[in-house]
Amino acid sequence: MTTAAILEKLPYSAPFLFVDTLEAIDEQQVTGSFTFRPDMEFYKGHFKGYPVTPGVLLTEVMAQIGLVCLGIYLTGGPEGVSFGLTSTHVEFMRPVLPGEKVTVTGEKIYFRFGKLKCRVTMINAQGETVSSGEIAGMIVHPANRNS
């Protein structure tokens, strides 16, 4: 599957799409990037007079690129199938300021019994590690989405 096809199959749209480009993907790992535009709404409130990207959004970028994109690649992204987030263990080392571009690499730890677990690392434009950790999700089928 091409990176363009994966981007097409992502189940997100603005204002909650946090993948700009995918640089590489194979059975084992994925690399992609996202730029936090200075005009993004949440910077008005996080923090008051001192805009810094919230950790939950860094986690979201890590999950969308490092877990969901790889999950779509590994499953072929059949219609109606998506990933439900099941756990995040993430450490944050550096702040990400408005306008910064971050690059995420997700490496598969395992994909068994419908659960994908990845080691995910985020770096900034200087190549410094911003955050890293382990994120997991499970395939969710439409039939049991509400169960």
Binding site: T86, F113, G114, K115, A136
Partner: protein
């Protein structure tokens, strides 16, 4: 491996994932992973993978689906260990 040792090992494997220490303390063959130990279904995958590692076996999808309580987990492990 006798049943007591097998159950002790399974208890050790599920311990980090259980949300119910009382049920873990009184763990027996009838202890249900989801209902009694309150292990969430995503972590049940990790329990199965840890069982594989502990006993050096490979568990297929059908066996995984059977592993709902301590008894069925013990049976799956015993069958896999007995297989040539």
């Amino acid at each position: 491996m006798d049943k007591t040792a097998l159950m002790a090992t399974i208890k050790e494997v599920v311990a980090p994932y259980t949300k119910n220490p009382e049920a873990l303390a009184t763990l027996n063959e009838d202890t249900d992973f989801l209902r009694d130990l309150k292990i969430n279904s995503a972590n049940l995958v990790d329990v199965v993978l840890d069982v594989e590692e502990k006993f050096n076996i490979v568990i297929d999808n059908d066996s995984m689906e059977k592993m709902i309580n301590v008894r069925s987990a013990m049976e799956v492990v015993e069958n896999k260990l007995a297989a040539p």
